[in-house]
Symmetry: C2
Subunit: 369 residues, 2 copies
């Protein structure tokens, strides 16, 4: 078991990564002196796999857990589901000292975190991410929230977990497509902050796709350390934290336009990062060779790197970007990389340039060579 | 115009109280460098009276305000209304630098504050309270939220306003019953923190009921100062802030049991404070004479001091108290006053004692003599 600290004045917490952590959930909660009554929030896919173990571990440590199961998929990040969760917590009489355990992927973490952030004006919560994407990204940093029809994550809060337990064993049950989607965030850390990690991923992608435990553990911990660093420097995204959104402006728009159905988040930001690499070359001089390495690494991970859209679809996409939370004064700002391992945020680009880049994104396979 | 500072590290703000402040709303927002796009959230009662002036003031200062009108009354503190507000803010493309103006009473402030606390993970908001209760209590301190069927304010956040503008002119349009309800919170400050204020209220109640401007201004500022002091010492109610809940445990339960229909909040906490005075005499030795003065002052303000309930209604009331956010480990804790001008919090009482006191609350008129 390895540990990463997230340094936040007064609300610091630890991320643990290792095998068999789910069985130690109760013990960790006990050490944090959390209240007796609690809720384990999970989805219909994860429930049959891990909910029993989580509840047992909590009961063995003297807690009184309620199980709350929501539908699987992005659709659960909806205000109606939030309202149903509140009602269940109220019926189980959760109190101010009570806590919520998020057991599942990014959707469960975002939803459970938002419920915890707002129930009784905020109660504690614990993240037990069971997908690669959630372990390296969404479970760390305190961004929680749900979607509106107008866009993704438009409602939410900053609410830090008390502890994050990344049980690597839970990744074994992850469908291949979801595992690969998680790799899109892993690759992102290499691009924005760690050229050596990027190189490791290039060399060891086959082993990583086989989910070799030692390699996986190393990669998860390195990603968490980068995220913890960035979040520790800028908790509420006043500045540098924005670099974590590399590829996300287009990615979110793509998810919104396709109504969160066609692409997994990781797939959408894979395409988004390839576009961001292209815009980085055009605007910040990212060497062509490095942009090509980026495209090839996403391809090696089995992720989509291009999208073919007609003109009205492109328009809808650009329109969706204007709805992004990161918009300020009507200008869409991007995170771009001047070189592998470094990112700059707040780069305003003309709508026309973005539209043109999207139009040519269909030809990325030719462009990257 | 007088000014009270609310001292909160990094998020300090000012409360202004005086006449003609609504016309200066835009100017205040400009000084705080808030973003151009904004929303004025108000209810159907307040809209025809003051929304035009608020919008004009904002437009004159260069802002682009959207008007959002919700139904009047406690029923608006509902998640469905929250969702409707989000959709309107998204359609008007509010951004991270945008802000929400809460124009109305406590319900509007709580609702608008919660919307602002959670839209785009939190945007700025400005309080323009137009009722006495909101001016002296709910607009200050950052407690925002909505109700669940299971209880009042069970969902919410701590989200401090950037400024509070108490325009005393707006109190002129307040129905008499609502004005008196606001006096219940005014009297509370005297009981828990300021025996001299209590004495002033005893002497000047007729003038206060006539809404004499100089007296009203003095009283509003004194109350805001007390609230600012308490909130500054304990923003998130870890300790002393709890004294502000004097009379509220029973008051909230009474509102919940009567489905927020029969009593205004101020009326419910008037009855709650009389009960708390009784429990204070029994448990902390509050002199009988002072308890009587408390009852008489609420009566002088034209507020209800007793409630007649049958046995099953009493049971429902005690049950509702157990649902209160302030419950910990299943024990109902009270705020009680050992003497006028001082309060203690976290006093655990046996359910039987509370039930008996409620049973005798119907006879309070005889008890107080």
């Amino acid at each position: 078991m390895r540990r990463v600290n997230v340094p936040l004045a007064g609300r610091s917490y630890s991320i643990y990564a290792g095998q068999g952590l789910l069985a130690r959930l109760g013990e960790h909660c006990r050490r944090l002196r959390l209240g007796e009554r609690c809720a384990v929030l999970t989805d219909r896919n994860v429930e049959p796999l891990y909910a029993g173990r989580a509840l047992d571990a909590l009961r063995a440590a003297g807690f009184d857990p309620l199980l709350v199961t929501v539908p699987a998929g992005e659709g659960a990040k909806h205000l109606k589901v939030v309202a149903q969760c509140y009602d269940q917590l109220a019926a189980h009489r959760l109190e101010r000292r009570s806590f919520v355990v998020a057991l599942g992927g990014g959707v469960v973490g975002d939803l459970a975190g938002f419920v915890a952030a707002t129930f009784l004006r905020g109660i504690d919560f614990v993240q037990v991410p069971t997908t690669l994407l959630a372990q390296v990204d969404s479970s760390v940093g305190g961004k929680v929230g749900v979607n509106l029809r107008a866009g993704k994550n438009l409602v939410g809060a900053f609410h830090q977990p008390r502890v994050v337990l990344c049980d690597l064993d839970t990744l074994a049950s992850l469908p291949d497509r979801e595992y690969r989607a998680g790799l899109a965030e892993v690759i992102k850390y290499g691009i924005i902050r760690d050229a050596r990690l990027f190189g490791l991923l290039e060399r060891r992608m086959p082993g990583l796709l086989r989910r070799e435990p030692a390699l996986l553990s190393d990669v998860v911990v390195r990603c968490c350390r980068i995220k913890a660093d960035v979040v520790g420097a800028d908790e509420t995204e006043g500045g540098v934290r924005a670099i974590l959104n590399f590829g996300h402006t287009l990615g979110h728009a793509l998810e919104a336009v396709s109504r969160y159905g066609r692409y997994l988040h990781g797939e959408a930001i894979s395409i988004g990062q390839v576009l961001a690499a292209r815009l980085s070359s055009e605007n910040l001089g990212l060497p062509h060779r490095e942009a090509s390495r980026i495209v090839r690494l996403f391809e090696a991970a089995g992720l989509p790197v291009e999208v073919r859209l007609n003109r009205s679809q492109r328009r809808a996409l650009v329109d969706a970007m204007r709805h992004d939370k990161k918009v300020s004064g009507g200008v869409v700002k991007f995170v771009l990389a001047p070189r592998l391992g470094e990112a700059r945020y707040g780069i305003a680009l003309a709508t026309e340039q973005v539209e043109r880049a999207i139009a040519e994104a269909g030809k990325v396979a030719s462009w990257r060579r």
